[in-house]
Each structure stands twice: as structure tokens, then as C-alpha cells.
């Protein structure tokens, strides 16, 4: 009966132990899950363990550099904790120790010492006073269980029985191992979370620093991230999904058409394609931004599509210049072909008449050849102008061929050349003086006025083009102002500030009248190299006036003897 009672008591105790352990594990799990700050949660678990599971509980963690740090030492009596801390300070950590935390960290296997023999204490602690101190603690039984995460031992939990007098059993060790498993998982999760947070912070810093725009979308095309550059370029905001981009009049192809689902880089990337060197145009009101970019799908290692990363940059300036250059080249080719066509046609016309054996009058031959001659001159001037434009673009100064010329004679010639090209306009030269002699680069000065007159004729339907010359003295220097006035459509105010820029052409003529967009640029350079200025005033529907101010550089004064 006594045996039965003893058995019953033992069974009852075992049941209560199991219940207590289960309750403890549940509580410990809650603490571990309460926060990602694993140092705090592990310390809490250690405190939870005393005195319910053991009299002492310690937690040690292997740090990133391989050293071991004591995270927590728990005992119900704080003065004893202080003793333990002193022990830790005075007994250096020996990684090769055959027992305790070093042993478990090395082997990754749990260790149980059911009854701690005094010899073990004496072997571990050489200093007498320390040994006495430890003996006074009355340590009786101990367990050390490893914290193992993904195959790596990342720390250990130490449980020691002392004043309670209990001796640990295999069941206790199983329980401690279970606890350590849960704690290790919590540490691992917290570390992974922290690593991913750090990685995300680094990546975000890199993405934000990038000069290129970066946008990340999920699988529906919804933007989940945009960096600063992307915002500045004005990429689509979050809230859009794929369908909002297709056919959207604010997101266009280079040809100015809304995207189809087949063309849209984002849609192509969502279908698995890596899109490189794509172009699209963002239109906000009147402002168009040309964007060049790449789009690539992002997959998990198992192939799951996460979304799309798009990188892009604003290439509006480059594309605009490219378009202007192309327009310039075709206009230059056009302008060169026009007089060439005349030369060819006139030569063929004369040839036909001669070959037919007809009597060709001297007048016809003379007129034909004179026109060929004039057309060749025009081509020569155009080629020189193109060469000058190239020099100006390369930043080289033009080498002026200054010689003594009469400006009024140069103007007469320019007016006459221009008049020969038009029947709709009457070009009138108003000059008060017979001659104004100075040092001019005759070809280039003539080209300046040829350009201004050519523009006046080209951009106005007819009427009078007036060239008015005024001569005045200013600060002891002699100046002329030559105004070329047309009765054309005028230049829009927004274009006036840009018309001397290379390749720039007015919005109201760009698509209607062919032109290279270099005439005014080189005119300005030529005038400025002569020490002068050029300015423009214009009134829409009334006409435009270009005024060239030139200093009259007198010919080098020769010693003349007169009378």
C-alpha cells in the first residue's frame, strides 16, 4: 500500500511537472513571439524560468564576430546574480573547456550533469576565494542546451539547480531542448528580419541615390516604390494599375501614339520579357518628357513573379537635339538639291535644243548660262554657310576676310539677288548715302543680309520687304543700323527669344516652310565678329523687323598727300 501510495504520489508529481512545463513553454513561446528584439525576449524567458524550472538560468549568444556574450543570468535573488557576474568577470571564457557552454557551443549537443561533483568545480576554478564562493551557492545539477538555427549553433541556455535541491532528469533535458528549439527559432527569425531590414534600408538608400529613375510595381502593375529621380521625371504615381497605362493619352510612344498592351514595356516585362532601351513619352499638359528605360520582371528563386523593376532617365534634351539635327540634315539636303535641280534642268534644256538642231538664240543661251551661274553661286554660299555652321558648332571663331568694301553696294547686291528669286515681293532699299566704306568680310556680310531677306521672302506671302539703312555717330565711333522689315505672319513671342539658337525654328512655320535653322545662328556670329549686334522685333500678323548694328571700321588710314 505504501508502495502504491508512493507510486501514486510520483505519478501525481510527474503529471504536475508535465503540466507546469507545458504551461511554461506556452508562456515562454508568447514572450518569444512578443517582439523581434530577441535580446530582451531571451532575457525575459530566463527570468521566467527561475525558480519554476531551475534556480539559475543563463543565456549565452554567439556574436557576429564569433565571440560569446552572456545575454542574461537570472536568479530570484539579485545579490546572487551579482555574484555570478563577478564569477564571469574573473574566470575568463575558455572556448576549449570540456564542459559547460563552450562544450555545447563546440559540439552542438546538449549536456546534463545530474549531480555536480565538487572536483568539477575545483577543476574549473583555480582561485580559492572564488571556489569558496561557488561552493556557497550550493550548485547541485545542471543542463546546457544549444540554440540551433538552420544547422548553426547560435548560443546556449544554461539551467542550474541549487538551493531547491532538485536533480535534473532526462525528461528535464528533453524539455530544455524543446525550449531551446523555440528560443533559437525566435532568435533566427529576429536576425533574419533585422538582416532583411538592413538590406532593404541599404537598397532603398542606393535606389534613392541613383540618378536614374527607378519604379517597382507588383504583378498588377501597381507602383509600390518610386525613387526621387522617378518622381522628378514625373513617372506615373502609385494607384495606377496596368490597364491605366494602356491607351493612356499621357503615356505615348515616340511616334506620339498611346501604348497597346503588346508594346507597353511594363506589360511586356509582366509577361516575362526583359525590355531594354525602350522609349516612351510622358505628356503633362503642354510639357512632353521623353524617357528611355528598361523594364525587367522580378522572380523569386522558385520562379514566382513578384513584379517589375523599371529604370529610366529623361532624354528629352538628347532626343530633341537628335530630331533637330535630322530636320537640319534633310533641310540642308533639300536646300542644296534645289539650286542643283535648276542647274541640271537648265543644262538639259539647252542641250535638248542644241541636239534637236534648232537655232538657239544667243539670248536663250545667255539667260540659261547666267541662271546656272547664279544657282552655282547660291550653292557655294549655302555650302560656305554650312561650313561656318560646323565651325560655330565646334566653337571655332570664324576667320573673317576683311577688306575694304562699300556696305551699300553689298546691300544692293543682296537685294538684287533676292529680288531675282521672287515675283511676289518688291524689295526696297532705303539708304541715304551713296557709299559707306569700311572693312567687311564681303561674302559673309552679304550672306547675313541674304539670309534676312531670304527669310523675309520665304515667310511672307508677298508685298514689300524694306531694307532701311541709318548711319550715325556714337561716342566718336561711326555706326550703321540696317533694318530688314517684312509684312509676314510674325514670330510668336515664345519663339522670339530662341530664334538665334542653332536648329531652332518657329512653331508657326516649323512644319510648313522648309529651313535648316542655322541661317540666323550664323548671321548672329558673323555680325558679332564684326563687332556688331543683331536684334529682332515682331508683331503677329503685322511683320518682323531684324536690325543689324555694325560699327564702321575705317580702312587703315594711309598717308595721303593731296593737292
Amino acid at each position: 500500500v505504501a508502495d502504491e501510495r508512493a507510486d501514486l504520489r510520483a505519478a501525481d508529481q510527474a503529471l504536475r511537472d508535465t503540466q507546469a512545463r507545458t504551461a511554461f513553454l506556452a508562456e515562454a513561446s508568447n514572450v518569444l513571439a512578443s517582439s523581434l528584439d530577441y535580446e530582451t525576449t531571451l532575457a525575459s524567458v530566463a527570468h521566467l524560468a527561475v525558480p519554476r524550472i531551475a534556480d539559475w538560468c543563463g543565456v549565452d549568444i554567439v556574436q557576429a564576430d564569433g565571440t560569446v556574450r552572456s545575454l542574461a543570468v537570472a536568479h530570484v535573488d539579485p545579490t546572487k546574480v551579482e555574484l555570478a557576474r563577478e564569477l564571469q568577470r574573473r574566470v575568463p571564457y575558455d572556448p576549449n573547456s570540456p564542459v559547460g557552454v563552450p562544450n555545447v557551443l563546440r559540439t552542438g549537443r546538449p549536456e546534463i550533469i545530474r549531480e555536480i561533483p565538487d572536483e568539477l568545480l575545483a577543476a574549473s576554478i583555480s582561485e580559492e576565494d572564488l571556489l569558496e564562493m561557488v561552493r556557497d551557492l550550493g550548485l547541485r545539477s545542471s543542463m546546457v542546451v544549444p540554440l540551433i538555427a538552420r544547422g548553426h549553433t547560435i548560443g546556449a541556455i544554461t539551467l542550474v539547480a541549487a538551493e531547491s535541491g532538485r536533480l535534473f532528469t532526462d525528461a528535464d533535458l528533453d524539455f530544455a531542448t524543446d525550449l531551446a528549439g523555440r528560443a533559437a527559432l525566435a532568435v533566427d527569425n529576429a536576425r533574419l528580419y533585422r538582416e532583411s531590414q538592413e538590406l532593404a534600408a541599404h537598397q532603398e538608400a542606393i535606389l534613392q541615390q541613383m540618378a536614374d529613375g527607378v519604379a517597382i510595381t507588383d504583378t498588377s502593375g501597381h507602383v509600390t516604390f518610386r525613387n526621387q529621380a522617378a518622381r522628378e521625371i514625373g513617372s506615373s504615381e502609385s494607384g495606377h494599375v496596368l490597364d491605366d497605362y494602356v491607351g493612356n493619352p499621357e503615356i505615348l510612344t515616340l511616334e506620339g501614339e498611346p501604348f497597346t498592351a503588346e508594346q507597353l514595356p511594363l506589360a511586356r516585362a509582366l509577361r516575362g520579357e526583359t525590355v531594354t532601351d525602350a522609349y516612351w513619352v510622358l505628356r503633362h499638359g503642354d510639357v512632353e518628357t521623353v524617357v528611355q528605360g528598361n523594364a525587367a520582371p522580378v522572380h523569386l528563386p522558385d520562379g514566382t513573379l513578384l513584379g517589375v523593376v523599371t529604370t529610366f532617365r529623361d532624354v528629352t534634351a538628347q532626343v530633341t537635339l537628335e530630331r533637330q539635327k535630322n530636320a537640319f540634315l534633310s533641310a540642308a539636303a533639300h536646300d542644296l538639291k534645289t539650286p542643283l535641280t535648276s542647274v541640271k534642268a537648265l543644262a538639259q534644256m539647252l542641250l535638248r535644243r542644241v541636239e534637236r538642231g534648232e537655232q538657239v538664240s544667243g539670248d536663250v543661251v545667255r539667260t540659261g548660262l547666267a541662271r546656272i551661274d547664279a544657282a552655282v553661286d547660291r550653292m557655294t554660299r549655302l555650302i560656305n554657310e554650312l561650313l561656318d555652321a560646323t565651325r560655330i558648332q565646334m566653337g571655332t571663331m570664324l576667320e573673317l576676310n576683311r577688306a575694304e568694301h562699300d556696305l551699300i553696294a553689298l546691300l544692293h547686291q543682296a537685294v538684287q539677288d533676292c529680288q531675282e528669286g521672287t515675283e511676289q515681293h518688291r524689295i526696297v532699299l532705303e539708304a541715304p548715302e551713296m557709299t559707306i566704306t569700311g572693312l567687311w568680310d564681303a561674302d559673309r556680310i552679304q550672306r547675313v543680309f541674304g539670309n534676312l531677306l531670304g527669310n523675309a521672302v520665304r515667310y511672307s506671302p508677298g508685298g514689300i520687304v524694306r531694307v532701311r539703312l541709318c548711319h550715325h555717330d556714337e561716342d566718336g565711333a561711326s555706326w550703321v543700323a540696317v533694318a530688314v522689315m517684312d509684312q509676314g505672319p510674325g514670330i510668336p513671342a515664345g519663339d522670339l527669344a530662341h530664334i538665334f539658337e542653332r536648329f531652332y525654328r518657329g512653331a508657326n512655320v516649323r512644319d510648313r516652310v522648309a529651313g535648316t535653322g542655322i541661317g540666323l545662328t550664323s548671321a548672329k556670329h558673323i555680325v558679332e565678329q564684326h563687332g556688331g549686334t543683331i536684334e529682332v522685333t515682331s508683331e503677329l500678323g503685322r511683320g518682323t523687323t531684324f536690325t543689324v548694328h555694325l560699327p564702321v571700321t575705317p580702312p587703315a588710314t594711309e598717308e595721303t598727300t593731296s593737292g
Partner: protein, 121 residues
């Protein structure tokens, strides 16, 4: 005699070329009228229906395409020969409904052949 009733209208703002075209077409016995701007071309066409129009595309103000579309309104399918230094001559010709185009610089023989085939097609 029929050609006198309906002239060939040649439109180009490049005067020496215009003169050469006028000469060779007149040499073939056709009655030729000329214009140097789109406006003038439309005035000539309004005065007398042309049998055919040789039309430069790069005219100032009212350009070749504008002239062609108004000619179509006036005279339906009057034959047009597009003359242009532009590299996209064929596309331009198609846009204005011209059966023939001549890319500058062209041979006057080709001009004559084109006029002939358009007139007597």
C-alpha cells in the same frame, strides 16, 4: 487644240527651274502656265481648269499638300505630278493622290514622259 483649252500648270518657287520646265514642256507643244506660290497656283487653276499640275511640295505658306487638297476640291482627280527634293517623295505623292513623283534633281526627259503618260493615260 485640246491642250490650249486646258493648260499644264507648273508650280515651283525655284525660278530658274520653273523657267526650264516651262521651256521644255512648251517645246513639246503643250500650253504651259506657271505659278511660284501656292496662292498663285490656286488663282491660275480657278481661272482655267488645268489638264495636269506639276507641283513642287516645298512652297512657302500654302505648301504643296495644301494646294493639292484644294485642287482636289475644285477639280476632283486632276492628275498631279509631285516634284520634291524631300527624301520622302513617294509618301508625299501618295498623300496628295499623285500617280507620279519626281525626286529632285530629276531629268527633264522624265518630266516629259511623266506628263505624257499622265495626260494620255
Amino acid at each position: 487644240v485640246a491642250e490650249h483649252a486646258h493648260p499644264i500648270l507648273v508650280v515651283d518657287d525655284e525660278l530658274p527651274l520653273l523657267a526650264a520646265m516651262e521651256w521644255v514642256l512648251a517645246d513639246e507643244g503643250w500650253h504651259v502656265e506657271t505659278a511660284t506660290t501656292g496662292e498663285e497656283a490656286l488663282d491660275r487653276a480657278a481661272e482655267r481648269e488645268p489638264a495636269l499640275v506639276v507641283l513642287d511640295m516645298a512652297l512657302p505658306l500654302i505648301n504643296g499638300e495644301g494646294v493639292a487638297s484644294r485642287l482636289r476640291t475644285m477639280y476632283g482627280d486632276v492628275p498631279i505630278i509631285v516634284v520634291t527634293a524631300d527624301g520622302r517623295a513617294e509618301a508625299k505623292a501618295r498623300r496628295v493622290g499623285a500617280r507620279t513623283y519626281l525626286q529632285k534633281p530629276f531629268n527633264l526627259d522624265d518630266l516629259i514622259d511623266s506628263v505624257r503618260s499622265n495626260l494620255y493615260a
